[in-house]
Amino acid sequence: MSVGVESPLAPAPGRGKLTGPGIGQGGARAATILRRFGSLIALAALILLNLALTPHFATMQTLSVNLTQICTIVIVGVGMTLVIATGGIDLSVGSLMAIAGALAPGFFTGALFHGTNLYVNIALSIIVPVGVAGLFGLFNGWLVSHFRIQPIIATLVLFIAGRGIAQVWTNGDLQVFKMPEFQAIALGHVLGVPFQVWIMLALVVVSAWILRRTVFGRQILAVGGNEPAARLAGVPVSRVKRLVYVASGLCSGIAGLIVIAMNSAADANLIGMGMELDAIAAVAVGGTLLSGGRATIVGTLIGAMIIQLVRYTLLANGVPDSAALIAKAVLIVFAVWLQRQERA
């Protein structure tokens, strides 16, 4: 931009901006509040609406059902939030869930590993599949950071191939099992709350803390906020990108195990089907900027809750599931519209 000749008597920079509220500041403040707490307000409104409309809403049963419904979405959504915070996207999450889910039964059916100690077998059946999903996540991150492939294309590779790998691994067969000690990760209860909900909450708290307090977390947001600037400030951009895809892979692996534990069966064709879109929807509704640079993990949890609660409200009040899908779409459009408003 050209710099005109300015008078040395001009006010010092920034001063005009600081003193006195400018025009439209009230509106800007309202927008800020809506941005920060919009999803929370929406959730509260939905709960109030249900308390008024839906019979037997305020029960532990309702809470349990709804939380169990969103568990896997939120767990995958945590990883997805980190990826989206860097300006990326991970389409492969559902396929990675399938891979982890297809691998796990092998450890306690003895198909993969003949351990004598039951708990060693169960530990392996958790660690190995989650680790493998993490490695596939590393592959995604490597494609994105090393070859600079657009994330949507890079993760499309495993979106397609990942489910294929899971199917080849299981010969396309359904693996049915009964292993209460393993299935406790989904079906067990602690303090009356399903164990998987505890896993979800733990992941949300830990990753929200990482994003907020650690160097890694701030670097994620810097990369998403302005990648060239982050690089020139010494942020290891490639490593940050690789790690968020690894995180997304690990989260997907955990979600895959919860799914098979709930079903007492691993079906590579179905585990995590459509999960990428549910997770992205939760992230978007939760208030994370899809172009990167601003992210909220708790928002993703709230986003998933809102989507689930809208669906539940409609179902509980006799609206068919097909119509609930439309409501979900409207919700996403509204959330994205809200994001665009504040950018303008």
Binding site: G4, P13, G14, T214, V215, N226, A229, G234, G293
Partner: protein, 506 residues
């Protein structure tokens, strides 16, 4: 002489937001004339072209083209009416064939609406043959060299019966031979009676191919002359806004001009080659010294600085830092060694707009501010508060998003980002561009203070008085090579401009 100009732009005003980009600018082009349009970054050349070809509207002024009032609604409309623009980045489709690119948007169809490929191929071939380009018109455009792609773009322009072709830095990505071919084409256009507006930063080129020159500065047209009537030195002086008769003026900058003691050499760069832009850059910096890096736009200053900092790779040459040879592969490595780099492009390479002043200030320092990966927020706040006070950053609070700050204050935050690292060498690329007068003086003073404290400083600037008054020593780049070195006693605006224009030492 009663030949009417083909194009006449008079009193053109244009503002983007509050910033004026054009202030009563004018431009005349005669039929069959090649007009050079030159100026520094932000002088208004591009805006002028955009107003002409309908990319954006004008706020005031008149345009007459071919005897009629002119108002193009879009570059496409302008093209149909006889004004074609060939942009710096060729805006054709590399994956489609040459023919398709030439006929894009006006394909020849038969009665049933199907494409008549054969006549299109023939047409494309004939068109290119007129420019002595014989290529397979069925092959994707991307298969050919940049020069050929330029020719295709020009051929496409001509096939619209263009009366005026605008070339915006067309030669910047061409090698010498390709430039020759392009000039041949321009002469051919001229012979056909087509006028050309030629935007370039390479002065030598202008003399080879242009008839007249229009110089712009700060949104105004400051000179129009026959190419042969202006020396290179006059052109440079005109672009930079310096009066040749009066280049010795008293301090316009906040740099004190006293001599400064300098310490040991901290950086020595020799025979550096980076991409197409830098072929043989040489410079050295001592501790406690501000070294100026001068040169015209496109002379390779930023590329040299980025290569030193490890942001771009270099192909040849050596860099010695603190006595040992280095080759930083990433900025991170350079930072670890004690370097810092303030980019000329604050918005795209400096600030992280959504983050707070606090976070922007400590972005580079974060790893050192943490205990096992967790940010020590108490220490972070202390450091941020100290720098906000020390260098006078005006912000509502450290938590204010940096994008809400003025340019000068953003620049101070970026400066503080490096200062809190205790660097040994700082590179400033246009440290005061786009910053108001008050903040500019503060930043210049600060840079001087840093050097006096023993820091090595490399300062790139397009403002010649900033270099002359601020730098202890100055290296001048011209077309990617260091052509001269000055110290305080020899550096003058006249001497610097002379070297920028001609290349040989003054």
């Amino acid at each position: 002489m009663s030949v009417q100009p083909l194009l006449s732009m008079r009193g053109i005003d244009k503002s983007f937001g509050v910033a004026p980009a054009l202030i009563g600018a004018s431009l005349d082009v005669m039929p069959g004339e090649v007009m050079a349009l030159i100026g520094q970054n932000g002088a208004g050349k591009s805006t002028m072209i955009k107003v002409l070809n309908g990319y954006c509207g004008k706020d005031g002024g008149d345009i007459t083209f071919d005897g009629k009032p002119w108002a193009a609604a879009s570059p496409q409309a302008a093209q149909r009416s006889g004004v074609s623009t060939i942009f710096q980045e060729i805006n054709l489709i590399p994956f489609r064939s040459v023919t398709e690119n030439i006929y894009l948007g006006r394909e020849i169809r038969n009665a049933a609406g199907f494409l008549k490929w054969r006549s299109m191929h023939e047409g494309a071939r004939a068109l290119l043959a007129a420019f002595a380009v014989n290529i397979d018109v069925g092959a994707p455009l991307g298969h050919f060299s940049t020069a050929i792609q330029q020719m295709v773009a020009i051929a496409r322009a001509v096939s619209f019966n263009a009366k005026l072709v605008i070339m915006d830095e067309s030669t910047s990505s061409l090698d010498e031979q390709e430039v020759g071919v392009l000039f041949q084409t321009i002469r051919q256009l001229k012979a056909q009676g087509v006028s050309v507006i030629f935007v370039s930063h390479k002065l030598d080129e202008l003399y080879k191919v242009c008839d007249r020159v229009t110089v712009m500065r700060d949104g105004r047209t400051v000179a129009v002359a026959e190419m042969t009537e202006m020396t290179k030195l006059q052109l440079v002086a005109c672009m930079l806004g310096r009066d040749l008769a009066d280049v010795r003026k008293q301090g316009a900058t906040a740099f004190s001009t006293a001599a400064h003691a300098a310490g040991a050499e901290i950086l020595v760069v020799d025979h550096l080659a980076v991409g197409r832009r830098v072929s043989d850059a040489r410079l050295s910096i001592r501790k406690g010294e501000i070294v100026g890096l001068a040169g015209l736009l496109g002379s390779g200053r930023t590329e040299t600085a980025r290569a030193i900092f490890g942001a771009d790779d270099h192909q040849a040459g050596s860099i010695r830092y603190d006595g040992r040879p280095v080759r930083f592969r990433e900025p991170r490595e350079a930072i670890a060694a004690g370097l810092g780099f303030c980019s000329e492009d604050r918005k795209h390479e400096g600030i992280v707009p959504g983050m707070s002043v606090r976070e922007n200030l400590t972005l580079a320092l974060l790893p050192a501010l943490s205990r096992s990966g967790v940010v020590d927020e108490t220490r972070q706040r202390q450091i941020v508060d100290r720098f906000i006070k020390d260098i006078g950053i005006k912000c509502a609070s450290p938590e204010q998003p940096i994008r809400e700050l003025s340019g000068g204050n953003q620049q101070k935050v970026l400066l503080a980002r490096w200062l809190c690292m205790n660097p040994k060498l700082l590179i400033f690329d246009e440290p005061t561009r786009g910053i108001d007068v008050g903040a500019k003086a503060e930043i210049q003073k600060l840079i001087r203070r840093l050097a006096d404290d023993g820091l090595g400083v490399l300062m790139i600037s397009s403002e010649i008085e900033e270099i002359v008054e601020g730098a202890d020593r100055t290296f001048v780049l011209r077309d990617g090579a260091t052509v001269a070195e000055f110290d305080r006693s020899t550096a003058s605006e006249h001497a610097l401009m002379s070297v920028m224009a001609h290349g040989e030492g003054a």
